[in-house]
């Protein structure tokens, strides 16, 4: 009975607040998470944090706070398209939310096996899938109808498709190799949804971006020494008109960068928790760090508006950290609590 009274009371409040909304100006905010930084953590438990653009407020577990349910294990990545955000969880579901309110809108729950990343092109979604990670031949890119939130077709690709980047009507997929190793970038035509070609790069390609010259830049971390078969890491630039490698900048043995971002003509990458940078016309990589971040376990990296952002997974069990640095003085601007195993940084 008490519950019913409470809910009537709550509904009446809602009506009152709705009616007062009628007077609001047209420039009302799109949601609580409109302007700011979004940090996702793999967990467990996985979660998503928000920090306002002015760095004045922050909120952890925003998806849980809004929807009263948790994101699953392990939260791999987020993708953004128009006013929607897509939360990609390894276990096989993608949750679609309003990117400004984080209210759940739906899920893509069938047809995916170990999904990793999502990109958008030609009005469709493209999701990399490892399939069974022990099986090197069942990997695919799922094509998603963004209205129905269903997988409409799958494109078989090489082992371990990881990050995915859309440029016009083409998507590029880096193949880090799931539980083993790979050394290709797949190119998919989104008009026909077929694999048009693969480009060979150094071992374990992961992060990708497009630089100011219009080149696709791929970071391959190489095979580390402990595998007993060390290979060199490299930054590879691909001409997207011809889909061929134009430049390969190799690292020395023992140097295996894993993260990369780009800001104001500078390509930033890491060696451990140290940050290094080269310009677009560099002919070799550098080994001289600009600075060392405060991160214990540097696990994610992003850049925007003269700031560099670093996600710290700490010990993989404690709450993660987000560190924000100035991109010219390399001084720490601020730091925030972030999800457990904080890994990805996005901007709203």
């Amino acid at each position: 009975m008490k519950k019913i009274i409470l809910s009537i009371f709550a509904m009446s409040l809602l009506i009152v607040s709705c009616s007062s909304d009628d007077d609001a100006t047209p420039s009302e905010p799109l949601g609580a998470y409109e302007d700011g930084i979004i940090v996702s953590g793999e967990g467990g438990p996985s979660s998503i944090s928000f920090i306002s653009e002015d760095l004045m407020t922050s909120e952890n577990q925003i998806y849980f706070n809004v929807n009263n349910e948790a994101t699953g294990v392990y939260l791999q990545s987020l993708g953004f398209n128009d006013d929607k955000a897509y939360i990609v969880v390894d276990a096989g579901t993608i949750t679609v939310v309003n990117r400004y309110t984080f209210e759940k809108l739906g899920t893509i729950s069938t047809g995916l096996t170990t999904p990793r990343y999502i990109a958008f092109a030609n009005g469709k979604g493209y999701i990399t899938n490892w399939g069974d990670p022990y099986d090197e031949t069942d990997d695919f890119v799922a094509v998603v109808d963004l209205t129905a939130n269903t997988v409409i077709s799958t494109i078989p690709v090489g082992n371990g498709p990881e990050q995915i980047l859309a440029e016009d009507n083409v998507v590029y997929v880096s193949h880090k190799g799931a539980y083993t190793t790979n050394n290709i970038v797949s190119v998919i035509n989104t008009s026909s949804d077929v694999l048009t070609t693969t480009i060979t790069v150094n071992d374990n390609p992961d992060e990708m971006l497009v630089d100011d010259n219009g080149d696709l830049v791929v970071l391959s971390s190489g095979k580390p020494a402990w595998t007993g078969d060390e290979t060199k890491a490299a930054i590879t630039k691909i001409d997207m008109d011809t889909n061929t490698v134009s430049t390969t900048l190799e690292f020395s043995d023992g140097e295996h960068p894993e993260l990369m971002t780009y800001l104001n003509g500078h390509l930033y990458y890491n060696l451990g928790s140290s940050i290094l940078s080269i310009t677009d016309d560099a002919t070799a990589v550098t080994s001289i760090p600009l600075f060392t971040t405060a991160a214990t376990t540097l696990y994610g990296m992003a850049a925007k508006d003269d700031r560099l952002y670093f996600a710290d997974a700490v010990d993989y069990t404690s709450a993660g950290q987000l560190f924000i640095y100035d991109d010219t003085s390399y001084s720490l601007i601020n730091s925030f609590n972030a999800p457990v195993v904080a890994s990805k940084i996005y901007f709203n």
Partner: protein, 616 residues
């Protein structure tokens, strides 16, 4: 009281057996019936609690639940029936030793025992020994040890027990126990099979436990043969074959599956002399697991370890009040697995236990052990214990010890990451116990302090993979109380048993409570019996546990405290001289409480189990 009754029971059987064999010295009795006689004799200054077979018979389905509701031990269970690991006095899962008839059966791969891979059918008793026991029981006996004991009596009998049960989530259990003996020969066999869909509803959601089905079968067979008036030969065997799906969390389903195969066989030859009793044990243990990330495929990873063991022990009466028990043991372990090649380890250990009973009031124990192990150096271990009977109803117990936990195969050989320069974790501890016994009431109060150094922790290293190191240091302290009361009014029998534990377990660097260790845990069991009917109600309180090292409270940082109640009723349908039929109904989670034991892994809603047992 229950404990005392059991002791009496054991002694009685022993006496009868003994009368047919050698002398009537009390010392020999345990040697005949028990494989691990030193548990009783050399643990005078330790808290020892015994769960007897009638209780084990009632809790076939879950060893975890049995201990959770009847002892101070806290369990971290990844959803009902999934991997379950203990925390004994705030220590971690690899710091509790599980001892099968005197030998340790903790996994050589993980250092732990998964309590959901042990079926208690056909163990005659389970003893919980609180406090450090590495001198007697080797690696891992830091928080305490849990002893699974089989007794072989040579009293003439031939009886059978068949049990069938059916319960919620299509849980089916069938078991059969048979025991036969004459003066020369004794055999008992237990077979058990359990199968459950385990698809319980996640309360307050529209979800259920989708990938949680399990089935397992076990065989427990023991043979004893009296060779001569001085020699007894015994063979113990246990097989456990289990197949489990691994359920996911509330927000993500899982397709994983896990298969366990454990085989344990031990041959024991006991020889009884006038001043020396000796015992030679030869054992083979095999643990084997297969993990399928996706149960619909044939891709799996595995680990397998064979353990070969030879153990010689003698019980020597140096003087009438001074006993010496030297033990020499050689263990050879060979492993293989997906994540390492074929490592092996050799371990030679020498132990000396000394017991001095100057009079009825005082018992002193002094014990030392040194291991020589391939690969790393083991510390010299020691322990001492004192028991003092202040009066007929008040006893003081004190023990102190240095204990260890050796690096596991995973710690040493995992590729990549395995660290060959690890040393054993070492721990010092003190435990003061007081026991009050008055008429039908007993109260045990213990306070303890444990400091552990060189704790092995896996952390990410500079090369980009995880590797174990001897880094952490912890201290645990706390208090435990156990009360037992029985009362009888004419044909009405009442009994009450309760446990409470307060446990602080801190990382000495951060002074923060370790994750998954509750400050408070309590349980209470009330039983009532009248003529053919008996019923019980049991209640458990588990305090909040932190799930991240920062000790924050909330959905993402801790698991809420919970209280849980079970109820059961049994009725003797038929009772004749040699036959008996019992019916039983058990209701678990009587009040349909929403609770989790591990974050985001809901536990079952209210569920029922119906059992019929036929003894003949």
């Amino acid at each position: 009281m229950r404990y005392r009754l059991l002791l009496f029971f054991v002694l009685l059987i022993g006496n009868l057996a003994q009368a047919q064999i050698v002398t009537d010295s009390v010392q020999h009795l345990d040697e005949v019936v028990l494989s691990d006689a030193k548990l009783k004799r050399y643990s005078k200054g330790y808290k020892l609690s015994i769960l007897k077979d009638s209780l084990l018979q009632k809790n076939k389905a879950s060893f975890t639940d049995l201990l959770r509701f009847n002892t101070n031990i806290y369990f971290k269970e990844n959803g009902f029936g999934m991997v379950s690991s203990p925390s004994f006095r705030g220590t971690n899962a690899s710091q509790t030793a599980v001892i099968w008839n005197g030998i340790s059966i903790n996994s050589q791969l993980t250092g732990q025992t998964d309590f959901n891979t042990i079926n208690t059918t056909n163990f005659n008793s389970i003893a919980i020994r609180s406090g450090g026991g590495s001198v007697q029981y080797g690696s891992g006996a830091i928080g305490g040890s849990i002893h699974l004991n089989n007794t072989l009596s040579f009293k003439q009998h031939f009886d059978h027990t068949a049990t069938l049960s059916y319960g919620s989530y299509e849980t089916k259990n069938i078991s059969y126990l048979s025991s036969y003996s004459n003066e020369k020969f004794s055999v008992n066999v237990g077979l058990n099979y359990i199968d459950s869909e385990n698809d319980y509803k996640y309360l307050n959601t529209d979800q259920s436990n989708e990938n949680g089905a399990f089935q397992n079968g076990s065989i427990n067979a023991n043979l004893g043969y009296v060779l001569s008036s001085k020699d007894v030969l015994k063979l113990y065997h246990q097989t456990f074959i289990g197949d489990r799906e691994f359920s996911g969390t509330v927000s993500s389903p899982s397709l994983a599956k896990y298969e366990d195969q454990n085989f344990r066989t031990m041959l024991e030859w006991s020889r009884f002399g006038t001043a020396i009793d000796s015992k030679l044990k030869i054992a083979h243990l095999q643990e084997h697991f297969k993990y399928f990330g996706n149960k619909n495929t044939d891709n799996f990873t595995f680990g397998k370890v064979n353990t070969y063991l030879v153990n010689y022990t003698a019980d020597i009466d140096l003087l009438t009040d001074l006993k010496l028990n030297p033990i020499v043991s050689y263990n050879y372990y060979e492993g293989s697995g997906s994540s390492f090649n074929n490592p092996n380890r050799k371990e030679f250990s020498t132990t000396a236990l000394l017991l001095y009973n100057p009079n009825e009031k005082w018992h002193y124990g002094l014990n030392i052990r040194q291991d020589v192990t391939s690969g790393f150096e083991s510390p010299l271990l020691f322990s001492f214990d004192v028991a003092y009977n202040v009066s007929n109803f008040y006893q003081l117990k004190l023990n102190g010890s240095k204990n260890y936990r050796v690096p596991t195969f995973n710690d040493l050989y995992w590729q990549p990451g395995g660290n060959l320069s690890l040393v054993p974790e070492t721990s010092y501890q003190l435990d003061l116990g007081q026991e009050f016994t008055y008429k039908n009431t007993s109260l045990k109060v213990n306070t303890f302090y444990i400091k552990t150094s060189d704790l092995i922790q896996w952390t990410p290293n500079d090369s980009g993979f995880w590797s174990p190191e001897n880094i952490a240091e912890t201290q645990n302290y706390g208090a435990e109380a156990t009360i037992e009361i029985t009362h009888k009014i004419k044909a009405h029998q009442f009994s009450l048993q309760g446990n409470y534990a307060y446990t602080v377990s801190e990382d000495l660097e951060t002074d923060a409570q370790l994750i998954y260790v509750p400050y408070h845990k309590a349980n209470i069991n009330l039983a009532y019996a009248y003529k053919r009917m008996s019923m019980f109600i049991q209640h458990l309180y588990t305090g909040e546990v932190y799930t991240t090292p920062e000790n924050l409270s909330g959905r993402f940082y801790s698991v809420e405290a919970y209280q849980l109640t079970n109820f059961g009723i049994d009725f003797k349908l038929f009772q004749a001289k040699k036959q008996q039929i019992d019916l039983g109904l058990k209701v678990n989670n009587l009040f349909n409480t929403v609770y989790e034991n591990v974050a985001f892994r809901p536990m079952p809603d209210r569920n029922f189990n119906f059992q019929i047992q036929y003894k003949f």
